[in-house]
């Protein structure tokens, strides 16, 4: 009699524990993520067949170590300067075996569907492609990046979508920590002594970004002042006279195939500008390392801070910072590049 | 010899328009070319003016081989009045007449060119129209302007393709009188005329064309003889003697 009771009790106990586990399992599985359009995506489990058509998001997936889930990449990976990095990280890309069914502008819907994706990552502005994919039942994560908070959000969303939120949070924390490291030093600089920085896009000398932009964030974080911060536009063309009047202390050029800092220093119209007179015109060296749309943007912050306040950051070795960043973000994958 | 055309043939592809034409137009006289529509008169006149290429045949104007002339030399010798004028911009009459001086001008016309233009307009009697836009004129007035242009060019030979079309009666008379006057002064004129009567009344020599061939009138007969005209125009003709020549009417 006692044995039967004891067994019944044991059975109930086991059943109860099993039940709890089941409940717990059910709570973990569905993934709910809101993309940048405000649309909610619901996945039963982390995505395993991701077609990522945005290069910056793709680099994020590699940072997470979740590149195994990627089955389609943007076409521009195979052209241009970023190829060697991806080739070093992924044999499939090196051998050009990974399909590239689209990019920031054109998407071959058939090719994408042929890959049978369970998630597509794409710019939210590509509305036609998004509609075409969603109509066919593919979950689409639309991205739109304006400020650094958006970059963090993207990384965390990618973490959720791949079931690796922990690593995503770690990467974001690392980035924030690095920025704080520099913030502590530049925070002490009084407003009057802040260097004014003019940012130059590669499209033209007079193309810059003003108030509400990642460029502005970048400049502020590095302790400088954007020369045209008072204008709210994200990207616009300014008048040469204005640039002369703003008289920036530092000119930062986005990676430019056609021009070097020496071209600006030699340009007769720029001669009166403080940055030119003191030879402080610098160009960002690389697209991959300096991508403002990824967590790597903190490296640019460091570079600009060092250019703006060379004395203050005398002890900083940018080469070491770069190596440390690559290790922290990509692990061993880009060792020795 | 004003014009000497020898063995001239011309066509577009397989379409032959002129068959082995040989003709003579005397210098200092008013020669009229008559024939049905489509007989090739306009084409012949154009080739004689140098506007169409003379590939098969030989043409001499005032003793000079037309094929060997430069455009400037040709313009100094031959003036041509075409049938159709389609202006787009409303140049003033005097500006249009002035363009006749093109072969004498290098950059812009000089005083002499302006003087010749005035003279030409005066001769034709259109000086009162000089400041009017060409596009506002009637067909007849435009015709007179183009005649003035030819005169401003100061050629020695003038070729006219149906110069009397669009002109009213009085202007017809005026133009014909002008032509007679020019001939008296030594110009050679060859004109295509529509109406045989006008031709016979004003002209000195006559040429006939039919289906791209020159029709020679019988030696003993007058040009205004009914038999020649019947052949040329494929119509029965009746003649009425008039002032030593004849008036003709189709029946």
């Amino acid at each position: 009699m006692r044995i039967i009771c004891f067994n019944a009790l044991l059975l109930h106990l086991l059943g109860f524990i099993a039940g709890q586990e089941c409940a717990a399992a059910k709570k973990n599985s569905p993934i709910a993520v809101t993309d940048f359009r405000g649309k909610q995506l619901k996945l039963d489990k982390p995505a395993t067949r991701i077609v990522c058509l945005i290069e910056s998001a793709l680099s994020g997936l590699y940072m997470l170590g979740e590149e195994g889930r990627v089955i389609g990449i943007p076409a521009n990976i195979y052209q241009g300067s970023v190829f060697r990095y991806y080739a070093a990280m992924d044999k499939r890309i090196k051998e050009r075996k990974l399909p590239a069914p689209g990019n920031w502008d054109f998407v071959n819907i058939e090719s994408v569907m042929a890959l049978k994706p369970d998630l597509v990552i794409i710019w939210s502005s590509q509305t036609e492609s998004i509609t075409a994919l969603e109509e066919r039942g593919v979950p689409v994560f639309g991205v739109f990046l304006n400020r650094k908070e958006d970059v963090y959000k993207e990384m965390l969303s990618l973490g959720q979508l791949t079931g690796n939120l922990k690593r995503a949070e770690k990467l974001v924390d690392y980035t924030k920590k690095e920025i704080r490291r520099f913030q502590e030093r530049v925070g002490a600089i009084p407003d009057a002594k802040r260097q004014s920085v003019y940012y130059m896009w590669a499209q033209g000398n007079l193309e810059t970004s003003c108030g509400n932009s990642t460029v502005n964030d970048l400049i502020e974080l590095s302790g400088g002042r954007n020369a045209c911060a008072f204008m709210p536009d994200e990207h616009l063309v300014v008048n040469m006279e204005n640039v002369i009047a703003w008289n920036p202390d530092l000119v930062v050029m986005w990676y430019n195939e056609k021009k070097n800092p020496s071209d600006i220093i030699k340009d007769p119209q720029w001669q009166t500008i403080h940055a030119v007179r003191t030879g402080r015109v610098h160009e960002l060296p690389e697209i991959f390392l300096c991508d403002l749309w990824t967590l790597k943007f903190h490296f640019v912050v460091k570079m600009v801070a060092k250019w703006a306040y060379p004395e203050l950051f005398k002890d900083i070795d940018l080469q070491k910072e770069k190596t440390a960043m690559l290790e922290n973000l990509y692990g061993d994958k880009l060792k020795g590049i | 010899m004003g014009f000497f055309v020898k063995n001239l043939s011309f066509g577009y592809g397989e379409n032959i328009i002129l068959h082995n034409i040989t003709l003579r137009a005397n210098a200092g006289r008013f020669t009229v070319l008559l024939g049905k529509n489509g007989s090739g008169k306009s084409t012949l006149i154009k080739i004689m003016a140098g506007l169409l290429p003379c590939k098969a045949g030989y043409i001499e104007v005032l003793g000079r081989d037309i094929g060997k002339l430069t455009s400037t030399e040709r313009a100094g010798l031959i003036g041509y009045l075409s049938q159709f004028h389609t202006p787009i911009f409303p140049f003033l009459v005097e500006e249009v007449v002035l363009t006749g001086r093109a072969s004498y001008v290098f950059t812009v016309p000089g005083r002499k060119d302006l003087e010749k233009t005035d003279e030409a307009m005066d001769k034709v009697g259109i000086t009162h129209l000089r400041k009017r836009p060409y596009t506002e004129l009637s067909g007849g007035e435009r015709q007179l302007v183009m005649v003035a242009r030819v005169l401003a060019q100061e050629p020695e030979v003038i070729l006219l393709d149906e110069p009397l079309s669009h002109l009213d009666f009085s202007n017809q008379a005026r133009l014909l009188a002008l032509i007679k006057d020019l001939v008296v002064k030594g110009l050679t004129v060859v004109a295509v005329l529509h109406d045989p009567n006008t031709a016979f009344f004003y002209g000195d020599d006559f040429l006939f064309m039919k289906d791209g061939f020159i029709i020679e009138p019988q030696k003993s007969k007058d040009p205004w003889d009914a038999s020649t005209l019947t052949e040329v125009y494929d119509t029965r003709i009746e003649t009425v003697p008039f002032r030593g020549r004849s008036l003709v009417m189709p029946i």
Binding site: A245 | F91, T99
Partner: protein, 337 residues
């Protein structure tokens, strides 16, 4: 108004306009008194108390505004003279220098140069502009010479081909370069510099001078091919003698400033409205008025916003309605088309 006074106004207008234009610009930078001050001191060679300000005024007036003003004037003249010449040549008041594919060719040349770092921008645009016109001419050439209709048809074909090629380049390039290409084709004077003035001055002056010599002959051509032959000119030769310099100056203009619409089409009509169709009058007035027109429009675009809007937009928005007005009022100086 007496023709004499009209002429005086046209020929006397440019110089004072150019001087006044030097005072036009963002007023927060240098104001009128600064400039007058600087002018006075420069003329009298007296010492300047505020060297910094003097430098800035000089940099702006001489380095930025003067080249821009001169460039605007010369391009305005060039495009107007070119348009006027094309209209006489084609006996058609609706043609512009673009009719033979010049703009499409130049845009394609520029697009290639912008996509490949080693190719120089201005020469490529210039050469391809000429190439396009040459190709149109070649397509239209028959044993009998070149008729107006076949030239226009040739131009349409060539224009279409280069536009398609341009689209292909845009399709294949990355977003940054694409933006540069699009900006270039919109037309711009904000990158005006002395080097641009230097590189365009010679071809434009040369071409305008050549066309000036041809000005009376255009009257002859305008009456018709047969009429031209009758008075002793070779229409084929005369057409080429007009086509070549007109293409030259239009191509040089497009090479330094992109595509500025409407000037080659509408402004010659404005000129003809004032002078009549006699080209001995329209050519010199085209030079004076065409240059003044574009300069005034550029002054306007410079003052209206603090950032740069491509000037092609203004010329089209101003020229377009004016053209419609002319049509409606049957003020066009030509037979009804």
């Amino acid at each position: 108004m007496k023709p004499f006074f009209k002429q005086v106004i046209f020929y006397a207008l440019p110089l004072p306009l150019i001087v006044v234009s030097l005072f036009v610009g963002p007023s927060n930078v240098v104001n009128t008194s600064d400039i007058i001050d600087w002018l006075m001191r420069s003329i009298s060679f007296s010492p300047v108390p505020d060297a910094q300000n003097k430098q800035m005024v000089e940099a702006i007036v001489l380095g930025v505004r003067l080249p821009r003003v001169l460039l605007a004037f010369s391009i305005g003249s060039a495009l107007t003279v070119s348009g006027n010449s094309f209209q006489a040549l084609f006996r058609n008041p609706l043609v512009s220098p673009d009719i033979l594919g010049l703009s499409s060719g130049a845009a394609f040349g520029a697009a290639i140069a912008l996509s490949f770092p080693l190719l120089p921008l201005q020469p490529m645009a210039f050469v391809f502009g000429l190439l396009a016109v040459g190709l149109s001419y070649f397509l239209a050439l028959t044993r009998k010479g070149v008729s107006t209709v076949s030239l226009i048809l040739g131009g349409i074909i060539v224009s279409g081909i280069f536009t398609a090629l341009l689209t292909m380049v845009q399709f294949l390039t990355d977003p940054f370069k694409l933006q540069t290409i699009v900006h270039w084709t919109m037309g711009n004077l904000h990158n005006a510099s002395w080097s641009k003035v230097r590189s365009s001055a010679l071809p434009i002056l040369f071409g305008i001078a050549w066309l000036f010599v041809m000005r009376w002959r255009m009257n002859v051509i305008a009456l018709g091919d047969e009429e031209t032959k009758a008075v002793g000119l070779n229409p084929e030769k005369e057409k080429l003698l007009i086509l070549i310099p007109a293409t030259f100056i239009a191509s040089a203009s497009v090479a330094v400033a992109g595509m500025i619409g409407m000037v080659g089409l509408a402004v010659p009509h404005m000129v003809r409205m004032m002078t009549g169709p006699d080209n001995t009058k329209t050519q010199p007035v085209s030079i004076a008025f065409g240059g003044s027109f574009l300069l005034i429009v550029d002054n306007f675009s410079r003052t209206i916003t603090s950032f740069e809007i491509p000037i092609g937009i203004f010329t089209t928005l101003i020229g377009g309605p004016f053209f419609i007005y002319l049509l409606k009022k049957s003020l066009m100086v030509c037979r009804e088309v």
